[in-house]
């Protein structure tokens, strides 16, 4: 019987009411008295020297209040990279300054080099056009292709970096020789070169920011589309603007999706704050979708050669990869961690592979910065691995299901120290594979294939078994790996006098449903109704601290902090109960919302304890403080390791190359599940994005660095008729062993496991249809590419 409340219940989302009635308040919905409007002036060339910017005509235009150029921000700090990666030779990565506004040079189409602030948006927009007309930029040759960027020392994105290489990283460098030897000795070696296509995250709400400055107090306020307002405060205050953190409040109100792209601090946030201070008025900026395409951090963009050494019967002996990872023109905040520690550490997947070595060259190009996008590094690792395993099966005529079974770690092998640095705590990969085979009716495939064949369609089935490292992240570990921050989280549980509860959480909800799920957990533990609990998030002035939501971390890290804070509440409640019931504290037990004296019928309800805490008429004040509010910071002991098995069935039209997804089955192990409805929704969304990457989405720059796919007219977002109903399951649960809720995280899974399942299915369809010369098709597997592969 499904639960109807608390942990494990599919509680309906309370936040839906405001979203469904048009009462959500996103940044651009907030109109402020005396607000002014900023419009950014962006480069229309990929690489150029800023020769001159003549602001005179612009400043004279109607309504114009201020014009900013890169010159205005020369003295302030740069937007830093959050992780320091070292190259194989021990040298630190090259880390060029990322200014608020480009100065001296523009480095990608869309690079903002100026901003205009005016009374109205339209005036600012007209003026921005004038300023663009009055700017002289001498175009320089663009660096677009990564391998050419590395080879050509004269053509530089940053003048001080001769080969455009940010770092050349080896993981684990000490294992390199052993891996090379194992590969040489392997009876069979499969080699695959592939591209993990660049994606534009395209959260449906474009980025927006509002800066406010109080001339009386010197306080700043930034309202912005952020997944992590505290991190933005830290970056803006300490690194870029030099504002004390206690003089800057960052608010992320309702945020319309993030998928990684709103983790990072962007220059527009600093710009609106500086403009607000200069003008003494609120200054707002909202991106148009075209600006999102040009200036949001993109995702993926790896070019990889993967080699797999194996026995003739499919036992994996060694894996070696060489990847060029595009970081774009500047280092976005997580951009150096994504292709390294979120990618290389996953390269043994859910398999027992003795020898693994990963090499990543991060390359600067004259394109938009690239950073973490849903999955972040782990989809790239999974795609490389699952594609090369599929290719191995084809070359050796082995069954892909049996090969997975042969190589998957078994439950008795946990905890498992992987050869690429992670300690998997628990899992049951056979169980999810069996479940996926069952739900996906693998046994019935041949009959479906025969039906497709009657219609002239080629049907194929693709499998992917995957793992990820989530719950980002143990500070002690990421510190060793180069992170410049800790990745704990925090929560304050405030029990009000009448027994209802406000929980201030560092996690930020921008679609995940925290406002519903977190109260389920509180209600369950404290024995009170869900409706008595309210979550406060997204405001640095109300919340102790937090590192935000990304990396499937909200529940695993912030939820754990909340659980720890509740432990403290219960402990304090026991003290109060002991006092009220005149019993020893050690004799008080707490269950079902009651504090009881063990072995007696003496008890106080949670509400009575709360009221007493705020009306402490006879408290022993030396030993018992009034109030009932506790804060906990939680730093995870390890990553969490969600895993699963995905099966995709496709039909390929051999005449047109069009691929239709017939079915998609996802069997996941997320550990304990707090709200099944929401977890399933997360998987649906992730799979939808994964199908988008596999079949539709491509970010294309031409050789001059112009973005050819800069709008929804040119960039194929998945739409309702591109995808099927998905079959998802999370019943094969092995709870996380090291966090109090036993949760692993579910936000990224769908986007990680699905692309290889789709592409494997397409290749399978072609081979079963007799088109055996096609070994690989790069994503997106569009009709044109499939047709060319068939007929090429």
């Amino acid at each position: 019987m499904p639960k109807d409340t608390g942990i494990g219940a599919s509680s309906k989302r309370r936040e839906d009411i405001r979203f469904l009635t048009g009462k959500g308040l996103y940044t651009d919905d907030l109109a402020l008295h005396a607000q002014a409007h900023a419009v950014m002036v962006r480069s229309n060339v990929a690489h150029g020297k800023i020769v001159s910017i003549d602001t005179a005509a612009t400043e004279a235009m109607p309504g114009v209040l201020a014009v900013f150029t890169g010159e205005d921000f020369v003295a302030v700090g740069g937007n830093p990279a959050g992780w320091l990666i070292k190259s194989r030779d021990g040298t630190p990565m090259r880390e060029p300054k990322r200014p608020v506004l480009a100065h001296g040079k523009v480095r990608h189409v869309g690079d903002a080099y100026a901003a205009v602030v005016a009374e109205t948006y339209q005036q600012a927009r007209d003026a921005a056009q004038q300023l663009a007309d009055d700017t002289v930029i001498e175009e320089l040759p663009a660096v677009v292709d990564m391998k050419a960027a590395v080879a050509n020392a004269d053509n530089r994105v940053h003048d001080e970096i001769p080969d455009n290489v940010c770092f050349d990283w080896g993981w684990i460098e000490d294992n390199r020789a052993a891996v090379d030897a194992a590969m040489k000795a392997a009876p069979h070696v499969v080699t695959l070169e592939l591209t993990n296509n660049r994606l534009v995250p395209n959260a449906m709400e474009p980025r927006a920011s509002i800066g406010e400055y109080n001339t009386g107090t010197g306080d700043y306020k930034l309202t912005t589309t952020s997944q992590n307002p505290h991190l933005t405060r830290l970056l803006v205050a300490a690194f870029v603007m030099g504002i004390p953190e206690n003089k800057l409040t960052v608010v992320a109100p309702d945020v319309g999706g993030g998928f990684g792209s709103k983790i990072y601090h962007y220059g527009e946030e600093a710009l609106v704050l500086a403009a607000a201070k200069k003008l003494g008025r609120p200054v707002r900026w909202t991106a148009e979708r075209t600006e999102s395409f040009l200036s949001d951090a993109h995702g993926r963009d790896h070019v990889t050669k993967i080699e797999l050494g194996c026995t003739k019967d499919g036992e994996i002996l060694a894996i070696r990869t060489e990847t060029h990872a595009n970081v774009g023109a500047y280092l976005s905040n997580f951009s150096t961690a994504t292709p390294t520690f979120l990618h290389g550490t996953l390269m043994s997947g859910p398999y027992k592979v003795p020898h693994v070595y990963v090499n990543v060259k991060a390359v600067f190009t004259n394109t938009a910065p690239v950073d973490a996008y849903r999955g972040a590094g782990r989809p790239e690792a999974t795609y490389s691995l699952e594609r090369v395993i599929d290719m191995m099966c084809r070359e050796l005529n082995l069954d892909p299901f049996e090969v997975r079974r042969k190589n998957l770690l078994t439950p008795d092998q946990f905890p498992y120290q992987s050869p690429v640095g992670l300690m998997y705590d628990t899992g049951n990969y056979q169980a999810t594979l069996d479940k996926a085979c069952d739900l996906g009716d693998v046994a019935g495939f041949e009959a479906r294939r025969a039906e497709s064949a009657k219609k002239g369609k080629l049907r194929g089935m693709g499998l992917s078994t995957w793992i990820e490292a989530c719950g980002i992240a143990p500070s002690h570990l990421v510190g060793i790996l180069g992170s410049r921050v800790g990745l704990y989280d925090a929560a304050t549980v405030r029990v009000n006098a009448t027994g209802n509860i406000s929980v201030m959480v560092g996690a930020h909800s921008h679609g995940q449903g925290h406002e519903t799920v977190f109260p389920q957990i509180v209600a369950d533990k404290l024995g009170i109704p869900e409706s008595s609990v309210e979550i406060v998030h997204g405001d640095t002035s109300k919340i102790p601290f937090g590192m935000g939501s990304y990396g499937s971390r909200s529940l695993a890290v912030c939820g754990s902090a909340m659980d720890r804070a509740m432990d403290k509440i219960i402990a304090k409640g026991k003290k109060i109960a002991a006092h009220m019931l005149e019993a020893a504290e050690g004799d008080i037990t707490f269950a079902d919302g009651k504090f009881s004296v063990a072995g007696t019928d003496k008890a106080k309800t949670f509400g009575e304890i709360a009221f007493s805490a705020y009306v402490p008429h006879n408290y022993p004040l030396e030993t018992l403080e009034p109030g009932l509010e506790e804060t906990a910071f939680y730093d995870p002991a390890n990553f969490t390791y969600p895993a699963g098995a995905y099966i995709c069935e496709v039909e390929v039209d051999p005449d047109t190359g069009k691929v239709d997804i017939c079915s998609f089955t996802a069997a996941d192990d997320f550990g304990n599940v707090m709200n099944p409805m929401i977890v399933e929704g997360q998987v649906h969304g992730g799979v939808g994005q994964g199908i988008g990457q596999a079949l539709l989405e491509n970010t294309s720059y031409d050789e001059t660095g112009q973005l050819l796919t800069g709008s929804f007219m040119d960039y194929a977002m998945p739409r309702a008729d591109d995808v099927p109903f998905y079959t998802v399951d999370h019943s094969c649960s092995t709870p996380c062993t090291h966090n109090p809720l036993g949760v692993k995280g579910c936000g990224e899974a769908g986007a990680i496991g699905s692309p290889p399942a789709v592409v494997n299915a397409v290749i399978d369809a072609l081979h079963r249809g007799g088109i055996t010369h096609v070994k690989h098709i790069d994503m997106p597997v569009s009709p044109g590419r499939v047709w060319q592969a068939i007929n090429g």
Binding site: S10, K12, R13, E15, D16, I17, R18, F19, L20, T21, G22, K23, G24, L25, Y26, D28, D29, A31, Q122, P201, N202, A203, M204, E205, P206, D254, G256, G257, E288, R289, T290, H510, G511, Q512, G513, M677, I678, E680, G681, H684, G685, G686, G688, Q689, I691, S711, F712, M713, M717, P718, R719, A720, D721, V723, F725, Y726, T727, V728, D729, G750
Partner: protein, 161 residues
């Protein structure tokens, strides 16, 4: 500037406009009805769908001055008279047809218009009918399910709930 009057959610309203003011801006900035969202600049995403004289339109494709005197319904006008959620809204909540909520107003308006024209659509008709609305969160599964449920069809057989 020209004052434009129309009927929005049953009330006569007016606001100053420029010739280039879009209906979407008129609603959001002129009237403060910020439930209608702007998700793109090419009339592709559908976050701004409203009902204009009973038909679903992308309000970013319409100049406010061209529709003076029109009857417009927005997401703010979709709840029942007692404030409870309308049928389509309720189905979206019941079936988790929204996550971040940004595309939701347009989805609800497009779905309601779809159902008005085709009260018992098939899954394929729903998917085709909503292809002008982009959602990045849900993978569309629960949106399609919600629309089918709002039409009174049994969705219990649909996977995963």
């Amino acid at each position: 500037m020209t004052k434009v009057t129309m009927t929005v959610n049953g009330k006569s309203v007016s606001a100053e406009t420029e010739g280039r003011t879009l209906l979407s801006s008129y609603l959001r900035e002129g009237l403060g009805l910020t439930g209608t969202h702007i998700g793109c600049d090419t009339s592709q995403c559908g976050a701004c769908v409203v009902h204009l004289n009973g038909r679903a339109v992308k309000s970013c494709t319409v100049f406010a001055q061209d529709v003076a005197g029109a009857e417009v319904r927005t997401i703010e006008g979709m709840a029942n008279a007692d404030g409870s959620l309308g049928v389509v809204q309720q189905a979206f909540q019941d079936h988790h047809g929204l996550q971040c909520g940004f595309c939701t107003p347009g989805m609800v308006m497009a779905s309601a218009a779809l159902l008005a024209e085709n009260p018992k659509p098939t899954e394929a008709e729903v998917r085709h009918g909503l292809e002008g609305n982009i959602c990045r969160c849900t993978g569309y599964h629960n949106i399609v399910k919600a629309v089918l449920a709002a039409s009174g069809q049994d969705v219990a057989a649909v996977a995963a709930e």
